[in-house]
């Protein structure tokens, strides 16, 4: 007989960290899976997108797991398999890729996943030691390194500006009912926005689904329900204040919790145990803090996706929160209540004050959110005729001016009962075979997109482009149906010039 000695207690709950991480992984997979299926079934996207999304996910996983495996073998010098099963690199990989848009090329994913794992986690000492949310680090790095509008994977990509980017271009205030409808309709309405009926980051769009997953995780005690609830409630409250001060409708707070990865952040990012405080009051303060900063960054910082930045900032103060709340909680209940109350009240007041300083912005488009004419692509692959109609052709010396009607986004949108074409003027120098200018005569598409598409910076990109490059045009990729309509007009003009009468 052997009588082993072990310190008490000798009884452990069934739930293990390994199992927590397994369930979490499955839940993230469900959310990503939704989007893959959505891309597959969406007539504007199709299997090509679904496959690309899957390759993004696979790439992220391979890079993260590979990095940790190499780290385990050559740096930590530990058995690789055991190291991996106690470090859970795949969770970081899935969270990171979930925050990336489906139009991102794979090299962005490779770099981002590597940065998440290596800089976000391993150099701090691995699982449990990192200060910043690793996936958040990767995501923030990608934005810094590749810009908000990373070169797109797809020429005809319909993944235009995200809801928050468009909102950002409008100064975060829309009050006119038509404008609100026009804005929301880009994302299939408020319900579409809430239930992920639009294209965005491959894990963030379906707020409803993430909410249900969060509910499941809370019931299973995988995450502390207080964190997402406090965060979303605070974000909603702060948005309600802005709504109240600016006379907007209830769509605004709903919009505010449905976009910008708010729910994804709430359920998967804020609840990361490693980088949030260890006590309940700490986690509550943490959640309020993220909501507060995200609100401010959105309306004042001119950075549309504020949630990740706010999480990273609050990660930094987590040790302070923990320190500040050290004590005997049972004897400090009043102090905790007071602290939480104060943090919330100060946030509320600051947001109220800020709300009075923001206003509806006249079409201002930050340069980097203007669709850019990325890599040259073949003329023949561009959407062409059918929807264009040359209204008039005027020849003045070398310059030929076309006025062209072209069916824009309004024709794609089901809600438009009486769509009208955009009218565009294209001037081409027939001698030098270059485009002189492209301008809008009338614009009939979605109001908010107008600012991007009719923006001088966008249209200026056409100026001086040669119309003959080995039988191809060295333009143009668009980001939306509306940009397509511009491109179609330009193509029609080019075709008219190149085809002898």
């Amino acid at each position: 007989m052997k009588f082993t000695f072990r310190v008490s207690p000798n009884y452990r709950q069934p739930l293990s960290t390994q199992w927590i991480m397994t369930e979490l992984t499955l839940c993230i997979a469900v959310v990503l899976g939704y989007n893959v299926v959505y891309y597959y079934l969406n007539p504007n996207l199709g299997p090509e997108y679904a496959i690309h999304a899957l390759s993004m996910i696979a790439t992220s996983l391979v890079v993260a797991i590979g990095t940790e495996a190499l780290w385990a073998k050559f740096y930590a010098k530990k058995p690789v398999l055991k190291y991996l099963t106690q470090s859970f690199p795949w969770v970081t990989a899935l969270l990171f890729v979930g925050m990336m848009g489906v139009n991102k090329p794979l090299y962005v994913i490779i770099v981002g996943s590597l940065v998440s794992t290596l800089i976000g986690k391993l150099i701090f000492g691995g699982f449990g030691q990192n200060i910043f949310n690793p996936a958040g680090v990767g995501r923030a790095f990608s934005v810094l390194a590749f810009g908000g509008f990373i070169a797109s994977q797809f020429p005809d990509v319909v993944t235009g500006a995200t809801p928050n980017q468009v909102m950002e271009s409008l100064g975060w205030v829309i009050t006119k009912p038509e404008a609100v409808t026009a804005y929301l309709n880009q994302f299939n309405g408020l319900w579409g926005l809430f239930s992920g009926q639009y294209v965005g980051a491959i894990g963030e769009t379906n707020t409803l689904l993430i909410m249900l997953v969060g509910l499941y995780l809370s019931v299973r005690k995988i995450i502390d329900w207080r964190v997402p609830v406090v965060f979303i409630a605070s974000l909603f409250t702060f948005a309600t204040i802005i709504m109240y001060f600016k006379g907007m409708g209830w769509w605004y707070p709903i919009f505010s919790i449905s976009t910008g990865g708010a729910m994804f952040g709430a359920v998967f990012m804020l609840t990361d145990p490693v980088t949030s405080p260890t006590s309940i009051p700490g986690r509550i303060i943490f959640a309020i803090g993220v909501a507060f900063l995200a609100t401010l960054i959105r309306v004042k910082g001119h950075l549309p996706e504020g949630v990740i930045r706010s999480i990273l900032f609050m990660n930094m103060v987590t040790p302070l929160i923990d320190r500040g709340l050290d004590g005997w909680p049972l004897k400090a209940m009043k102090k905790y209540a007071f602290t939480i109350g104060t943090v919330f009240a100060v946030s509320l007041l600051t947001v109220s004050f800020t709300a009075t300083t923001i206003s509806y912005k006249e079409p201002y488009v930050p340069e980097d959110s203007i669709p850019n004419l990325g890599d040259p692509i073949l003329f023949s692959t561009l959407p062409t005729a059918g929807n264009v109609n040359i209204v008039s052709t005027t020849v003045t010396g070398d310059i030929t001016t076309f006025v062209i009607e072209t069916k824009g986004h309004a024709y794609e949108a089901e809600w438009e009962t009486d769509p009208k074409p955009n009218v565009i003027e294209v001037k081409i120098n027939t001698v030098t075979k270059t485009i002189v200018s492209v301008t809008f005569v009338t614009y009939h598409d979605t109001a908010s997109l107008q600012y991007a598409t009719s923006h001088p910076v966008f249209l200026k990109q056409f100026d001086g482009l040669s119309i003959i490059v080995d039988n191809s045009v060295d333009v143009v990729i668009g980001a939306t149906f509306t940009t397509d309509s511009v491109i179609r007009a330009v193509n029609a003009a080019i075709a008219a010039v190149l085809t002898p009468q």
């Binding site: 008490s8 309940i280 050290d326 905790y336």
Partner: protein, 430 residues
């Protein structure tokens, strides 16, 4: 309970079905029994018998008077042997008096029975003192202390919660002696000067609850209180809070409450009625390390080894022998130690491999600590030997209930870390 503190308890899988319904096995020691003379704290003890003396069940063997009066009675009849040092259930060796049993178990009257209804309160408290009754906290705290000077006591709580996993001894004892439970409760009620008594029991023990309910029909001063099936509901503070929704500083008497274990009430009833001290106990022997988990009725002083052999032996070659339940009980690296008069269980578990992985700072230990502490923070402070922080984190308030280790999904010995912190504090105090 405000939302900014955790539940401070958790539901545990009790495995109570292993022993809650099968037959109680009586085990009689065949040769020597070893009567512990102290609780490992080396308190002075005056042995009143000599080697070679004949004793009976109930003969007064020894008496401790510092710091509290504790008489020690024999649990068998036979011949007094030598005093010998051996392992005690508190995991420290201490002196045991050897009695060689003659196998007859002849009884001697230890003291004269009294009728609590006619006795004065002081007589009753003295009686409790002389009967050698001890609380079941494992520390062997004599029962009479609580009743010495009751001030403004309004409620007596009879604790029948038994929240440790595997243990069903209290439950079985109660089922056997329901009348004694009520009788003892009434006696303690008198000693406590409280207006009413509460019998607290887990609500899932339906069968016993109904029976007690029926018995209480004509006892207006006693009420049944059903608690949730949570750990550590049987801990004084948790139980008192559950019932009164008040917290106290050191002792429940501050808020007018005295808490006593149900088995203590039963033992008192039996002493009152028959004039006998505790000689036998119902003890749960359970866990997957035993072939046949069962409740046994044994004279105290019998070794665990002898009992395990009598009930069919171990089911594995490598086991953990735990004095008490798996949460708070200590692992003893031998089975050659004895049942004490305040033991209630021996848990025997197969040794299974267990490996800790890094703390993920999830805070589960903080949320469930019944003392409302921050165990992971205490562990962090202990790791860097920050004594001031340990003091600030009130590590001395830890009751070593084991909850933080239990709940930790990374299988870290969080409780042990808190223990180390407490030890560091003690060392500094010295």
């Amino acid at each position: 309970m405000p939302l900014w503190i955790g539940p401070m308890n958790a539901h545990l899988n009790g495995h109570k079905e292993l022993t809650s319904h099968n037959e109680i096995v009586t085990v009689k020691p065949k040769g020597e029994v070893y009567i512990p003379l102290s609780n490992g704290n080396n308190a002075a003890v005056e042995v009143l018998v000599k080697e070679g003396d004949k004793v009976k069940v109930g003969t007064l063997l020894a008496k401790r008077s510092v710091p509290f009066v504790v008489p020690i009675y024999s649990s068998v009849s036979g011949t007094v042997g030598v005093v010998k040092s051996m392992m005690h259930a508190v995991m420290r060796p201490c002196d045991h008096l050897v009695i060689v049993s003659d196998g007859k178990f002849e009884k001697a009257q230890s003291f004269s029975p009294i009728d609590y209804t006619s006795a004065t309160r002081d007589e009753l408290v003295d009686f409790i003192m002389n009967s050698g009754l001890m609380g079941c906290g494992g520390a062997g705290f004599p029962t009479y202390i609580k009743y010495k000077n009751p001030v403004n006591i309004h409620t007596l709580i009879i604790n029948a919660v038994e929240c440790e996993p595997y243990i069903t001894a209290d439950y079985r004892t109660m089922k056997e002696f329901l009348d004694d439970l009520i009788y003892g409760t009434k006696a303690l009620l008198k000693a406590s000067t409280a207006k009413e008594a509460i019998i607290a029991i887990k609500k899932n023990k339906v069968e016993v609850c109904t029976k007690i309910q029926a018995l209480l029909a004509n006892e207006p001063q006693i009420k049944l209180f059903m608690t949730p099936d949570k750990y550590p509901m049987g801990w004084e503070r948790t139980l008192v809070y559950e019932f009164t929704h008040k917290r106290y500083d050191k002792l429940p008497s501050e808020i007018g409450v005295i808490v006593n274990n149900a088995t203590t009430a039963i033992a008192l009833a039996q002493s009152l009625k028959y004039g006998s001290a505790i000689d036998e106990k119902i003890i749960t022997f359970s866990g997957d390390g035993l072939k046949h988990p069962v409740n046994v009725k044994v004279p105290y002083g019998t070794t665990v080894k002898e009992i395990v052999e009598a009930i069919g032996g171990y089911s594995a070659e490598d086991v953990l022998v735990i004095a008490g339940g798996p949460m708070m009980g200590k692992t003893i690296p031998t089975d050659n130690f004895v049942i004490t008069s305040y033991s209630n269980a021996i848990t025997i578990l197969k040794t299974t491999p267990q490996e800790a992985i890094p703390c993920m700072r999830c805070g589960r230990c903080n949320d469930t600590c019944p003392a409302g502490l921050l165990p992971v923070r205490i562990n962090n402070a202990e790791a860097v030997a920050d004594l001031d922080l340990i003091v600030k984190l009130a590590a001395d308030q830890c009751i070593e209930c084991g909850m933080c280790s239990y709940i930790c999904p990374s299988r870290i010995d969080v409780t042990e870390g808190v223990r180390r912190a407490k030890r560091a504090l003690m060392l500094r105090k010295k």
